[in-house]
């Protein structure tokens, strides 16, 4: 029952052979597959994390871009407003100056015209007065008399006219 013999050696050989067989055909492949799966999962996790980070980065970039675009548009609108204001002020000022100039010119024109009309009127009044005088004096007035009369009249009429303009 209890005897130690050559079968001890056989058992050890059997064990070693079994170990090698199991390692080659059972544990090796299975552990390999599990290792591969673990690696794959790790890789997928890593890539998912990478993708997430990239997405966040892009999101930040887009938000920045959006914000800067908003700022830019605001700036452009403000600038345009300012420019428009300046231009409008300038136009109004120009118009005012122009209008003032025109008004002045018109005033001056009117004044000139008035003076011209006055002068014409003066000569006309002199003629009329001359006519009236000659009609009154009849035929006997010589040209000498005419002239003296005329001057006298002018003087009188001018004096009265100077006191009461137009």
């Amino acid at each position: 029952m209890i005897e130690i013999n050559i079968n001890l050696v056989f058992t050890i050989i059997n064990l070693i052979v079994l170990y090698l067989l199991m390692k080659k055909f059972l544990f090796g492949p299975i552990l390999n597959v599990m290792e591969q799966r673990k690696n794959m999962i790790d890789q997928q996790f890593a890539s998912a994390k990478d993708t997430e980070e990239q997405a966040y980065e892009l999101k930040g970039k887009y938000e920045d871009a959006l914000k800067s675009a908003k700022d830019e548009s605001m700036r452009i609108v403000n600038q345009a407003k300012d420019e428009a204001k300046v231009q409008a002020e300038r136009i109004v000022k120009d118009a005012n100056t122009q209008a003032g100039a025109m008004l002045d010119k018109a005033k001056a024109d009117i004044k000139t015209e008035q003076e011209n009309a006055m002068k014409a009127m003066e000569s006309r009044v002199a003629e009329i007065a001359l006519d009236a005088a000659s009609k009154i004096m009849g035929e006997k007035n010589s040209s000498q008399q005419d002239l003296s009369l005329y001057d006298q009249f002018i003087k009188e009429a001018g004096d009265s006219n100077d006191g009461n303009k137009h």
Binding site: N5, F10, T11, L18, L26, P29, I30
Partner: protein
């Protein structure tokens, strides 16, 4: 009484005849079964979508792997496949009596062989980790006075391992044979469940558990 003898199945007719015991022959059968099973089960392994069979297989293997990994740590990783092989072998050997074979672990030669490989592995692990000097030094630890006890341990550890396994299996074998002699029907079933399955697996567990603990101690 003749049931307790380890029968010689056949004799190799060289060197005046080498007897091959039943335990060795049954071990061959176990090896063949394990080889065929692993060849069949390991076919078509898939990394991405494992089938039911593969999940079951992976669960079992990773259960054993994690069990030894917890004890041995990262440093003793290289010893795990051997320990897994031994636990499977002893587990199957202990319940092989159910299938009408004589359990190989009933033969003292078989358990001595297992214990010798275990002690070789334990001492090799210490040697591999610490180098020759450290390995020799470890016999004088924690104090030089422990030297004789440490040396004795090299012999005691495998003896305790092999005798525990041998005694348990032989005892349960004898009890089962007696029960079958008294009442071959029904009665042996609960006893077989206890002696063959429960005790068989417990002994396999204890054997590899102690071996891995000793290895861990050696590589610490």
């Amino acid at each position: 009484m003749e049931e307790l003898q380890c029968k010689t199945v056949f004799t190799i007719p060289v060197f005046g005849g080498i007897p091959v015991a039943e335990s060795v022959a049954v071990t061959w059968v176990i090896m063949a079964v394990l080889l065929i099973l692993s060849l069949v089960l390991v076919r078509n392994l898939s990394v991405e979508n494992p089938g039911k069979k593969q999940i079951l297989l992976e669960t079992g293997v990773s259960f054993l792997h994690d069990f030894f990994k917890d004890i041995l740590g990262e440093e003793g990783k290289m010893y795990i496949p051997y320990l897994m092989t031994v636990v499977i072998y002893i587990g199957i050997a202990n319940i092989f009596g159910v299938f009408g074979f004589v359990p190989p672990t009933k033969d003292l030669n078989c358990t001595i062989g297992l214990a010798l490989t275990s002690i070789f592995l334990i001492e090799y692990a210490g040697f591999h980790k610490k180098g020759l000097k450290g390995f020799l030094k470890s016999f004088a630890e924690p104090a030089p006075i422990m030297l004789p006890i440490n040396i004795l341990e090299v012999a005691i550890r495998p003896t305790s391992l092999c005798m525990r396994l041998f005694g348990n299996v032989l005892g349960s074998y004898v009890v089962m044979k007696l029960l079958e002699f008294i009442c071959p029907a029904i009665l042996p079933i609960p006893f077989s469940l206890y002696f063959d399955f429960f005790d068989g697996f417990i002994q396999a567990y204890v054997f590899v558990f102690l071996t891995s603990l000793f290895i861990k101690e050696a590589i610490e």
